[in-house]
């Protein structure tokens, strides 16, 4: 019951944040199902690994909560990035914006990134500590696959280099 309610709330959060993000950064018309699918897929793939490899109900439930927290964190940080890009565009459009204003904006974003990154690491270690060595073999592998996939997706296509 509790998990079900949490899942519905989480899905609503994903939908609203994904729309906010695509509207803010991509300039889309609010019809971007693939954005939602992308983040859903990330959470679902990791969730599937947990469900498949962790037979113990209590540990599995805790691990699934961590997976949800990781995905929620991803959404939060993505929104922070969208806000940062929007603020930069605004300041950059002004010819006379002083460097100190940009320094502050970059510094604030850097602080948020480091905070989010540290939270991700905390969750990663919590997830690893809940798994047995055998379970971690599959779950850790999937987690790293998702990291690598994201890292490889980044350069050429997106930057237009």
């Amino acid at each position: 019951m509790h998990m079900g309610g949490r899942r519905i709330g989480f899905a609503a959060l994903i939908t609203s944040l994904a729309c906010a993000l695509t509207l803010t950064v991509a300039g889309c018309g609010g019809k971007e199902p693939t954005a939602h699918q992308t983040i859903e897929r990330y959470g679902q793939e990791l969730r599937d690994e947990v469900v498949t490899h962790v037979p113990d109900g209590e540990r599995r439930a805790r691990m699934l909560m961590i997976v949800d927290e990781l995905a929620a964190l991803q959404l939060r940080f993505s929104q922070q990035t969208a806000d940062f890009v929007a603020s930069y565009r605004k300041l950059n459009a002004e010819y006379d914006t002083p460097q100190a204003t940009f320094d502050q904006l970059f510094s604030d974003y850097g602080t948020k990134r480091i905070k989010a990154r540290n939270e991700v690491l905390d969750l990663h270690f919590e997830l690893a500590s809940l798994a047995t060595a055998g379970e971690w073999e599959a779950i850790g592998k999937k987690e790293m696959e998702l990291y690598e996939e994201a890292s490889e997706a980044r350069p050429g296509a997106a930057s237009g280099k």
């Binding site: 989010a116 990154r117 690893a128 798994a131």
Partner: protein, 140 residues
């Protein structure tokens, strides 16, 4: 109307938000990917700045910045790879990640500062009217 590339950026951002930007990109990286790439900036400079001397000076600045960034990108990729490698192991302790994340953060900070320095160097070489054209965004 949204172009396929803009759509792609929106989708990629969500996936990358956590992994790539958290572990391998700072403010400058986010802007190069989600605001304007260096190649787009160069195209705008070439179109807007008519004075050849100033234009060449700006493009040279961007080229230098690009080659330095490429070097830093390689450093970041290597540092991130090391981090991911130790995260894969179940017996890794949280404290073992700290030297790696500290190095990554230092490199990303340098990249951010270098990006801002370039921004101000370009701005100093153009008029306010040229600047307005260079930073203008196409209508969505």
């Amino acid at each position: 109307m949204t172009t396929p590339r803009r759509r792609q950026r929106g989708q990629v951002l969500i996936l990358l938000g956590l992994w790539w930007l958290l572990f391998g990109g700072g403010a400058a990286s986010a802007l190069v990917v989600y605001d304007r790439s260096e190649s787009e900036t160069k195209k705008m400079i070439e179109r807007v700045v008519r004075d050849e001397r100033r234009k060449d000076a700006i493009l040279t600045d961007i080229d230098r910045w690009e080659s330095r960034q490429e070097q830093r990108d390689k450093e970041v990729a290597a540092q991130r790879e090391q981090l991911l490698k130790i995260l894969r192991r179940k017996d890794t302790r949280r404290s073992q990640t700290e030297p790696l994340t500290a190095r990554l953060d230092a490199t990303l900070l340098e990249m951010d500062q270098s990006f801002l320095n370039l921004r101000f160097r370009i701005k100093e070489r153009v008029t306010s009217a040229e600047w307005a054209e260079i930073v203008a965004r196409p209508n969505p």
